[in-house]
Symmetry: C2
Subunit: 401 residues, 2 copies
């Protein structure tokens, strides 16, 4: 049979850099090696009891379709949650529930952009944005933020230089994955002004909003610009409530045209999962206020433990984040992807190894990431310390090769 | 503020014809009217107990991401289920779990087609195929199947005439939504030969595979062509197990390149919901063999009851389906969409009304559907009979206007 050609876009969709070494990890595990996973943003913190309570309260005899725009109680609970935690005044009609923040971003790329249109992002960036852009046929245009500048927001002019007549939006992740940078009220205001001056959308991915340290408080773009039709917030329960597998995200905007048009796309996929939405609504209504406080404190302790441990390794330079739970770390090797593969396929230390994410995949301009890794501090402190010990041993072995 | 332009593709994405009257239905319900829903393929049959048992057995303390290709136990259980019910020999590695059949089809359009490429479908068609195509930038090319020909598969030559150098696949829904046609082994063989002769993919959506009547047995394309890299099956638990809201679908193929490339796209969206997959795996392993037999018999009884009742209405011509749970019905009105809106917004009979789906949205060549409706017989027999009684009264009132 002659070969069936697949599409160019499919062949050009980059494999997720976070997941592409998964097969090596799988093989290592099958061979009996214990793996410390610092490669993926999958927290080990327990999901709130109230979510499981919600699951048990689902008593319908038929698992029927939910509405395309989302479960009404969930929209209402999410709105109340945001109003309570951020002192805002959103209403449930401004929400569209999606299958994770991922789906919200794919929808927004489609709603805001025709194929070939451009969205400005900041490099390094959440790697899956590249996948969403490939799916939607959108060209991402990176503006570099630098490690020796603490990954600060680049100046207005540097960003504006990248705007063309095909630019449709700026997308910022705040707090940032993978850098952990938390952008200030002034940063957000400046970015909004830039969008206003150039008449484009501002999309803020606030997946990590509640996870901030060192006295910072959660800050939404809606605290800075509460009622602009230019602003779209993407939100998710995945990280702050350890609910990655429930796949519950949303988009939130007061732009009714964006909501109505995105709903047409959302109707084509029918609806997000019924039972997860039901349980999430129950959780948001009933979760204890100190849950997130404990989550924040736990991650703060881990961040500090990770950085103390990394300091002991010669040649390692780590960026200390102000939010989220990732740290970008420069390693004393020429190619971190090669080193990460080595850790999974040729190395173990007392039957254990450490899985790290090479940072090149988080940079559109890959060369800036070749010698860096992203470490997700999603394990408890003693596991983190052990993981870094294994990493240090791995580095020594790798450099001796 | 100057108006922010949305994308052409978003503005051109058709609202789902099944869902676009939803707002009128919502308003009718709020005003206290009871609605018989014949408009949407949401069965009222109870979901197997084994699914809820599976939910209760989920004991992890963290709702973590599932693998991008799907829960291993679910792939394995689904493979065994297919091998058992169809006497086939699939293996779990041939499966990719998706968020409903919807996501599988979007992925396949992206994997098989670049924007502007063509997929041949049969008119009338499942309306959401149009939405998936809009999302993926694919041009669907319809070949008409005719009601007075029992919606049979059009002849080889009629289909081949539509093949151009941009055609990448033929997509068939078997049993068919919205016609209820069940295609024979010979139909499938002929379609496969056509794909072979023209070197294109054959995608069969087998969502309704188990729901067939009048002595027919479930038949997969894999029973006809078990090991062609040209063939991709899309499957779903939604309809046969009353699990629409769990959003569990899959694609199944022995084409490793399709699986690997689609997995790149699937990785960008991370994973399908964890708990639903866990519960579905448990259900497929433990569901009683007579569950589907009972489902089939129940729908058979409903089909017959619906058709007996429709016969009593003057001017109504109904197509009696051999599978799925939809019937296309010609009504004695000039515009069924107008009539369907009337039923929801201006009519009630003893406090009740009937919600039907205008068929125009199921035809790419809309004119063929203007005087038809799709009725989903997803209610129990006495409700169905009552729904048709209300429909008849509505017709009388509408024609008197």
């Amino acid at each position: 049979m002659s070969r069936l050609k697949l599409s160019n876009r499919a062949r050009n969709t980059p494999p997720s850099p976070i997941r592409k070494l998964a097969y090596l990890g799988y093989k290592a595990k099958k061979s009996g090696i214990y793996i410390y996973h610092l490669n993926i943003g999958q927290p080990d913190i327990e999901t709130p009891q109230e979510f499981f309570e919600g699951l048990r309260l689902f008593r319908h005899k038929v698992v029927a379709y939910e509405q395309s725009q989302g479960n009404e109680e969930l929209c209402s609970a999410w709105s109340k949650y945001i109003n309570r935690t951020l002192e805002l005044n959103t209403s449930p009609e401004q929400f569209l529930i999606t299958v994770g923040a991922s789906e919200a971003l794919v929808f927004l790329f489609m709603t805001c952009c025709d194929p070939g249109d451009e969205v400005i992002i900041f490099d390094p960036t959440y790697a899956n944005y590249l996948g969403f852009a490939a799916i939607a046929g959108v060209n991402l245009v990176p503006v570099l933020s630098k490690m020796d500048d603490n990954f600060a927001l680049p100046p207005y002019e540097k960003i504006e230089q990248k705007i063309t007549n095909r630019t449709r939006a700026i997308l910022l992740c705040n707090p940032n994955n993978p850098t952990g940078t938390v952008y200030s009220r002034e940063d957000l205001r400046s970015l909004y002004d830039l969008c206003e001056d150039n008449n484009i959308f501002l999309i803020i991915d606030e997946t990590y909003r509640e996870i901030v340290y060192d006295g910072l408080k959660p800050l939404s773009i809606l605290n800075v610009v509460p009622d602009s039709k230019r602003v779209i917030v993407v939100d998710s329960l995945s990280k702050r409530f350890s609910l990655c597998g429930a796949r519950i995200g949303c988009l939130l905007t007061c732009n009714e045209e964006v909501l109505a048009t995105t709903l047409n796309i959302a109707q084509a996929r029918l609806a997000a999962p019924t039972i997860d939405q039901f349980a999430a609504a129950h959780m948001l209504e009933h979760v204890k206020p100190d849950y997130l406080e404990n989550v924040r404190n736990e991650f703060l302790g881990r961040r500090d433990a990770l950085h103390e441990a990394l300091k002991q390794i010669p040649g390692v330079v780590a960026h200390k984040p102000k939010g989220a739970f990732y740290s970008l770390v420069a390693l004393p090797v020429h190619n971190v992807e090669d080193f990460a593969s080595f850790m999974l396929s040729q190395f173990s230390y007392q039957g254990k190894t450490t899985f790290i994410a090479p940072a090149a995949g988080f940079y559109m301009q890959n060369e800036h990431g070749v010698r860096k890794a992203r470490l997700a501090y999603v394990l408890n402190k003693s596991d983190l310390e052990a993981a870094v010990e294994v990493l240090a041993a791995g580095l020594t072995a790798y450099l001796k090769k």
